[in-house]
Symmetry: C2
């Protein structure tokens, strides 16, 4: 009985050899990753159950399908799942639902992608009780398919500039929805183009000539019987994208389209028959949905990074090239230091991101209780942090996935690796849910406010996550993990102060607030990144400190050491005049030492994510390591090989060659 | 008459406003970029001529096509071009041929992609005179289509491990080609899968039981009349890739396939009828082809980065979002410092890479003369440098393209931007023509040798490019560009020494050479990158110093200043204990200053690359800036919008919804 539970007899012996070296129980590691033994086990059970339903298998590899085929495949599986899903998962458990969708429909999108994560939640949080009675049941039973349409072609981040209008006409008690320009077209909403027949649409509400800003309306888009767009509705697909081509992101325009007054979602506001606008009794800033989404993004991105690393680490253990000391057999490429340096720091980050995401979600649910008690300071702290977290995590995830792909050499570039698709999926996260630069500057605003508090002697008002900004830093003692944290704190603090001072000085010198801010933004984003990376290190440390299983704790402690050394070296530019070159050399030596230490555990560390072959969809990353024969099989079954001679050869190339012979 | 020649009346006024600010003649800048007024003019003339032949236009946007459609489109255009090409370009001019192909067939590959750049050159350099008489004319007239097959599924970098064999049988005077295992399959060669009927195949030659290592053979793959693969040949397409899906990269296996003895390409070696192997009289290391290819890669990658920046900079001048001081109109996103910081340093690099590539090509042709005179030291210098150049340039190009894409926000993620395709094309360069880590270590070997020369008191034997390794460095004076070079030299020198010392110490401590090397490789790659980046800075400086036109020189001097400040800051980790934090602050201030200085010239700087809309293939990057209406047009014409209701909705989603209503 091996500690690594992935070992099977038919496997590539190069992988088995790695797994036999495992020093920890991969099931126990999975329990640490996913939060509990039960959650990890449920994942395995769901994967297992799915694998037993042949109709849920991919009809062909995703990279062989065009968009229409991908969408058809997704729709087919949704229908099959609809009949089985409640036998396999607890349908009300978001985690289980996410897992089964990722397993079955994959990550490239599907026609119900927004129905459960955006449309229904919008109705839950924004519709009045009567409205919920009318629509929520229908949506939950899937009598209707919905999405959430907010972003316009010309307007993303700046919501107040949305151009689509809903103008109220008291005589008919109707709103008239209108799209005045091309840039006003709703653009990008998922599942809007072809699938949804309803949408929650956010538009500028106008009553008696006065704009009330963005408000959500329930709008029917297509006939329920024929699925033909209603008169006055222009709707379609926005075309191919970098990834998510199994989804139908759409555009939507209104030509004086009328909806009843009661289609304004009225949980928080009300418009009465005569056009009277009734405000919510106490409007308060509500960041909770965003905090929630961004925390989950950290975990989700960590999981995407993990997938790329599963593929690259396993493949690097079966790919042999070149020689070290032994000249009779080529060496596994995983033995090269450069390969380890490409993969292992990202592996540490994948763990760190997942841990940080879960910790943030946990923190958030605790803070919700504080908010109920009237204490919102922790929430502001967390909201600011998650803006940075979203940005740092998505950026580093993208970097890590691409390095993983390149670590697979030429075959990484083949869609058989599937890594470039994972990259496309992950990297979208840099842009959606708040563009990364905007996010970093959101956090920066909070950091600047915090430094200003300290400067005005009100340090005690600081949120807990920024209290280090008021501390004094000495020279770092790198003999303990805490010394690394101190060093990181010092750099983050110095940069936050420096960027704030720059901004303040520019204002003092006569620049307007806006210009002073703009001229400080690059420095401010640097401060935000450091603050966030510090938090990730601390979250990683806290998680490891709570682990009880000794072998699991040991290997994660090594991974943590790798992480802090890599991170500190990566930002060492900020250590100028603060760390000595001897210290920096020490950090480098430690880094290389921990690469070697992780090497024997690398395969078990990626196995522990327990992503099934079905979900991974990668020939290079197969659990059994039998890469080459399956690469050949994959290629032979690809669309171009259906015939020996392509029609285009017959039509163009053969005549060209024949003509040349004359 | 404006200095920017791109201005037209129908353009988006936001772009015209930018162009009217231009301080230099964009035609003159183009002459500097492409090497001469004539070369720049020829590019314009070719683009113009192509635009007048309607059959050469894309039948639909590339992102709407599947692979078969892309290959068909490429084949169709090749046939059209075949009739016109000699009227438009000087067919023997490689530059003009490359330009017209990029214009017409685009960059995603086509069925003749390897015919002219690999197959014919292989015949020219490796075939004997008699063999050339037999095949070269046929190839040039396109009676046959060929490719070059070397890489195997299991073997890329390490050529000596190629498994495919050609075993000689003197009785029939034939070689028998054989593929003993799956990993021995030829895998990846361009145009091999479906298009080529001939190939130069590199295999391990075996005579009388003895292996002679890799040798090139001319092999017919398919029947010339039917295009059906010959008996004993297994050939096909390797399936979809991250990009280049208009090309048919292929696999090739031999089942005891016989070719005449005289199909061994015999320009440099000979096998006689009885199997006697005749070696070339004086085998010498010949790096010239690689130097050539890698220098051109620097220029080519620079051009790809330029394309992404054309798109992002133009779009950033028409995209408006948020406010600065003026609250009545949203600001062009190009006015945000964070946006400038994302784009302008990459713009400087695009110029730097193109200049460096051309300088390297020039240097190479000069050195060829030295080689003829028996002096090869300069060539070793240059060969080492180009290994690093290839690696640094491809990596930074990829980074820059992705930042450009993200700078376009959500629409950058749409294939309408085309940037993600440009990324896919460019990033392949990190892997092909020598994997980047392998390349950096090739250069590192040269750097280590150079340091060892200095240590043994033979500094005078150093090649010119590494002579700075023997110099002493003082504290940098950043008041001139030369001071920046001195600072960079110091860092590169320090790292080269440090990495070498590490390697030597490990050997002294008892490690084998191989292990000591492996344990030093990450540090060694850092040294290689610094050496290369230093060279790029110097090449950029030399190029600018030679410019005669004052306005062009002024703006490129600004771009150069931006470049050196950005580069120095980027590697400031190596400046520990050598630069003060005051100096670093100065560098940062300079960086932000030059971002502002470049801002008014940004659009003219990208216009100067003079890439036509046809070649750019980007809705966001259109010369006229009329982005939004064309984005809508593009989306409406995309394949999913051919019908209002997708078949998959009818088949799966409608029944699901109907069933729910029961």
């Amino acid at each position: 009985m091996h500690l690594n539970t992935s070992i099977c007899e038919v496997d590539n012996p190069d992988l088995t050899e790695e797994r036999e070296k495992g020093t920890f129980d991969t099931d126990k590691m999975a329990a640490v990753i996913y939060g509990s033994e039960k959650l990890a086990r449920r994942r395995r059970e769901i994967s297992e159950a799915v694998s037993k339903i042949p109709e849920l298998a991919d009809t062909q590899p995703f990279p062989f399908m065009d968009r229409l085929e991908k969408i058809t495949e997704g729709s087919r599986k949704l229908e099959v799942l609809n009949n089985n899903i409640r036998d396999i998962i607890d349908y009300d458990d978001n985690g289980e639902r996410l897992h089964i969708y990722q397993e079955v429909t994959g990550m490239e999108g599907h026609p119900l992608a927004l129905h459960e994560v955006m449309f229904i939640p919008a109705l839950v949080s924004q519709a009045s009780k009567e409205q919920q009675e009318k629509w929520l049941g229908r949506a939950r039973r899937r009598e209707i398919i919905g999405c959430y349409a907010q972003t316009e072609m010309g307007h993303g981040t700046n919501l107040r500039k949305l151009e689509t209008t809903a103008t109220y006409f008291p005589d008919t008690q109707e709103f008239v929805l209108n799209t005045p320009t091309t840039t006003a077209l709703k653009w990008w909403p998922g599942a809007l183009g072809k699938s949804s027949n309803y949408a929650v649409v956010v538009v500028d509400m106008i009553i008696k000539g006065k704009s009330y800003g963005p408000h959500p309306f329930m709008v029917q888009l297509r006939d329920e019987k024929t699925h033909i767009p209603l008169k006055g509705i222009v709707v379609g697909d926005i075309g191919p994208k970098m990834s998510f081509n199994g989804g139908d992101n759409g555009f939507l325009g209104f030509d004086k389209f009328r909806v009843p007054r009661t289609n304004l979602l009225m949980r928080h506001v009300r418009v009465e028959a005569d056009g009277t606008y009734v405000k919510p009794p106490h409007a308060k800033v509500n960041h909770s949905a965003m905090v929630h989404v961004r925390s989950h993004m950290a975990t989700g991105q960590g999981a995407l990074l993990a997938q790329a690393l599963i593929i690259a680490v396993r493949y690097s253990a079966v790919r042999r090239q070149g020689f070290l000391e032994n000249k009779t057999q080529e060496v596994k490429v995983l033995d090269y230091q450069t390969q380890q340096h490409r993969l292992f720091p990202s592996l540490a980050r994948a763990y760190a991101f997942i841990f940080t995401g879960f910790e943030t979600i946990h923190l958030y649910s605790q803070l919700l209780k504080d908010v109920d008690m009237g204490n919102t300071s922790g929430m502001a702290d967390l909201h600011a942090l998650t803006s940075g977290l979203k940005s740092v995590v998505t950026h580093q995830t993208g970097e890590g996935i691409e390095q993983a792909r390149m670590a697979c050499g030429g075959h990484g570039y083949s869609m058989a690796s599937y890594i470039s698709e994972i990259y496309g999926i992950a990297i979208g996260g840099c842009t959606y849910e708040g563009e990364n630069m905007v996010m970093l500057l959101q956090l920066a605003r909070y950091l600047v406010k915090s430094v200003e508090l300290i400067k005005s002697g009100e340090a005690k008002k600081l949120g807990p996550m920024v209290s280090y900004l008021a501390a004094k830093g000495g020279h770092p003692d790198l003999s303990s993990l805490n010394g690394y944290v101190t060093a990181f704190e010092h750099m983050a603090r110095r940069q936050a102060w420096k960027a704030t001072e720059k901004f303040l000085k520019l204002m003092e010198s006569g620049e307007s607030r806006e210009i002073a801010w703009n001229k400080s933004t690059v420095e401010l984003t640097r401060a935000s990144r450091l603050h966030t990376r510090l938090f990730i290190i601390e979250a990683f440390m806290r998680r490891v400190s709570r682990i009880e299983d000794i072998p699991v704790k040991e290997v994660l402690t090594d991974l943590l050491h790798l992480h802090v050394n890599y991170e500190l070296l990566d930002v060492a530019t900020y250590a100028l005049e603060f760390m000595s070159s001897t210290q920096l050399d020490y950090i480098r030596d430690q880094l290389y030492l921990y690469l070697e230490k992780i090497r024997p555990s690398a395969v078990s560390l990626v196995d522990s994510f327990q992503i099934s072959d079905m979900q991974l969809r990668s020939v290079l990353g197969r659990r059994d390591g039998n890469v080459y024969e399956n690469l050949f099989k994959w290629a032979k079954s690809s669309p171009l090989n259906k015939s020996d001679v392509l029609p285009s050869v017959d039509k163009y190339l053969m005549p060209m060659m024949e003509k040349a012979k004359l």
